[in-house]
């Protein structure tokens, strides 16, 4: 098996280029997108590379159309992806909800930029994290990955496809502008370094097949179109047959299953880097590019005699409830830097569930949070306890 790029040497790729190459390595053979910065490079690479591997690239008329196209293509059995940024992510929301409801695997990349609205088109933000969780209407689980280093972006992209296939959901790959545009040297991972998961196909003949048959588990096997199964797919609440229902008990049962199918694996989905946390008194919680600066701040704090540590979320959603709660019992305070005006801090507060200082470091001007700002907050908290 090859990683698709045919490269195993050292490359110097931006985060966006890595996403595209890793997607192909993961088996993505259909991409639909619409131009938007700072995610455009993903489309550029896909347009060039997909035909080489016999895959399909299509630039659609808008963001909504790209989301619709990847859902349609996924129903034929293909692994599919789209990439966008803030405003485009907002536009895709209705069809993202459709993919949750109809349980259609696909990967949605959002390279976060400043907002609301057009905001800061080519500048950094991490302000779509709550939209990623709650952006579409209705209840649903969310898997969102926030890699911060280059080989990690590669592996996270492959994981995003694996999770989409495994749980039959749209998986969110959340980069931020810095992660998407920064180039770093890296060795292209060899296929022996990761696993590929493909959706489970039905083991029963068409006349016994139901697209949402939970007797096979919370993630029902998924047939493809044109294989003789002739099933129905709708965004309406439906029974196991795929046909609409308004029966309150069935709706309740099915919606609970759709959340359970992901949340029961929350422990396995958790992906955290713990840095200097063993004896830490002040924990920094961070993700994406901000976490790189947070690590520098932790090192500096240690040099100055403060016991600081970093908990970095690589899987941001589902939120690591248990891990943060346990950490909260060991440390005296949390510092939560993020390039927004305080979003993930709400989750830290919720899961820490203790009367302790939990303070944010926030910027929204399109620039990274400098390590010294995080450091001075760590020092302030160490000194004043808040």
């Amino acid at each position: 098996m090859s990683n698709g790029s045919g490269r195993t040497d050292i490359v110097f790729w931006s985060g966006n280029e890595i996403v595209a190459e890793a997607a192909i390595a993961a088996g993505c053979r259909f991409y639909a997108g619409y131009p938007i910065t700072p995610s455009s490079e993903i489309a550029h690479v896909m347009a060039e590379r997909l035909p080489e591997v016999g895959g399909t690239f299509i630039q659609m008329e808008d963001e909504i159309a790209s989301m619709g196209a990847i859902i349609g293509a996924s129903l034929t059995g293909k692994k599919t992806m789209t990439a966008t940024s803030g405003p485009g992510f907002s536009l895709k929301m209705e069809n993202i909800g459709y993919a949750y409801m109809a349980e259609v695997p696909c990967v949605v990349v959002n390279v976060m930029r400043g907002g609301p609205s057009t905001g800061l088109p080519t500048a950094l933000a991490q302000a779509d994290v709550m939209q990623t969780r709650w952006g579409t209407h209705g209840d649903h689980p969310t898997i969102a990955l926030t890699p911060a280093y280059h080989r990690e972006i590669y592996f996270s992209t492959i994981k995003a496809f694996n999770y989409a296939e495994k749980y039959r959901i749209p998986v969110m790959l959340l980069l931020d502008e810095v992660i998407g545009h920064m180039s770093e040297g890296m060795k292209v991972p060899d296929p022996s370094e990761y696993e590929i998961f493909n959706r489970i196909k039905p083991s029963v003949p068409p006349e016994k097949y139901f697209p949402y048959d939970s007797s096979f588990g919370d993630v029902p096997p998924m047939a493809s179109y044109f294989e003789g199964f002739r099933f129905h797919v709708t965004g309406l609440n439906h029974t196991k047959t795929g046909f609409p229902t308004t029966d309150p008990d069935i709706c309740q049962r099915e919606e609970e299953r759709m959340i359970r199918k992901v949340m029961k694996d929350a422990e396995a989905l958790a992906d955290l880097e713990e840095y200097q946390l063993d004896d830490a008194e002040i924990a920094v919680f961070s993700f994406g590019s901000t976490a790189r600066g947070a690590r520098v701040a932790v090192d500096e704090a240690r040099k100055q005699g403060i016991k600081a540590g970093l908990l970095r979320a690589i899987t941001l959603w589902p939120f690591p409830d248990r891990q943060v709660h346990e950490l909260a019992s060991r440390v005296k305070a949390f510092v939560v830097p993020e390039v927004n005006l305080g979003q993930m801090i709400l989750e830290v507060e919720r899961t820490a569930h203790r009367d302790m200082p939990i303070v944010g470091v926030n910027r929204v001007g399109g620039v990274p949070i400098p390590p010294y700002e995080i450091l001075s907050k760590i020092k302030e908290v160490a000194r004043n306890g808040r």
Binding site: G54, G72, Y225, F226
Partner: protein, 277 residues
């Protein structure tokens, strides 16, 4: 030979949810007749829709069926067709679904000339949501949101499709199912983006507000409004005033089809890259 309609329908899903006398049933019947005449395999055919009364049609059809979001049927269908270019893809949509919320997707599917058959059931109203006016509601007509009469000019969907680049465009009406079936068959057989507009009756939401609550009266109103292209060519302009022309309105067999173009692109790229697959 008579068409075995039940072969193409999910009989256990009947009776359907449409009002008695609704024209959508005639369109579905004509559609099945056309599929049968072409000998299309149910397993090889996908039927895609958006939201609205018309968009419930795929649920009754025993094929690969996809009931999507409002206005977006063509986007999902484009994904299906691009991923499986050798399969048949039909979209069935109402006038509001296809030309208001889905208008952008409509013109771009026409422009690409992708081999999808688009059936528009034009009943001049939003039926399911309670009778609001649509982009094809006639000037002056009453609707739930035009209680004082409609001042919006209406789209001519055929001209819109032709202007945007569709390579087969025809218009039929539910008062003449046979003629409609012929256009549906020709459109499905056509290799490129085909648009078949079916003028239909929503007596419940449009008719009721415009003195035609009886489906027979409303279908007669349609029958009196339409003139075949052949007849129209011989009629003086003053007699054509207020008439709607039915027939094959446009056909172009020369323009390249989109999935063909893409598969040629793949071949070119792979040849250049020295990929042998």
């Amino acid at each position: 030979m008579a068409v075995d309609y039940l072969h193409y329908l999910r009989a256990d899903k009947l009776p359907h949810m449409w009002c008695p006398g609704c024209g959508i049933g005639i369109v579905v019947k004509s559609m099945i007749g056309a599929i049968d005449a072409l000998g299309w395999d149910k397993n090889e055919t996908a039927v895609v829709s958006g939201i609205g009364c018309t968009s419930r049609a795929p649920g009754y059809m025993d094929m690969n069926t996809l009931h999507t979001t409002h206005g977006r049927a063509l986007t999902f269908a484009t994904g299906v067709k691009m991923a499986a270019p050798d399969k048949h893809v039909i979209v069935i949509a109402g006038d509001g679904d296809s030309s208001a919320i889905g208008g952008n997707h409509f013109i771009h599917a026409c422009r690409r000339n992708i081999d999808i058959t688009m059936i528009i059931v034009n009943n001049n109203i939003y039926g399911m949501t309670g009778g609001q006016f649509s982009p094809t509601t006639p000037y002056g007509a009453k609707a739930a949101t035009t209680p004082h009469g409609n001042i919006d000019p209406a789209f001519d969907l055929g001209q819109l499709a032709i202007g945007a680049g569709a390579t087969y465009v025809a218009r039929g009406s539910v008062d003449n199912g046979r003629m409609l079936q012929k256009y549906l068959k020709d459109g499905m057989a056509h290799h490129g983006f085909s648009v078949i507009e079916a003028l239909s009756n929503c007596h419940t939401q449009f008719g009721r507000r415009n003195k035609m609550s009886d489906p027979v009266v409303m279908v007669e109103w349609i029958a009196n409004k339409v003139v075949t292209k052949a007849k129209a060519e011989k009629m003086p302009p003053e007699e054509l005033e207020g008439k709607i022309i039915t027939g094959e309105l446009h056909r172009n067999d020369e323009r390249p089809e989109y999935t063909d173009e893409y598969s040629q692109l793949i071949q070119r790229v792979q040849k250049k890259a020295g990929v042998h697959q």
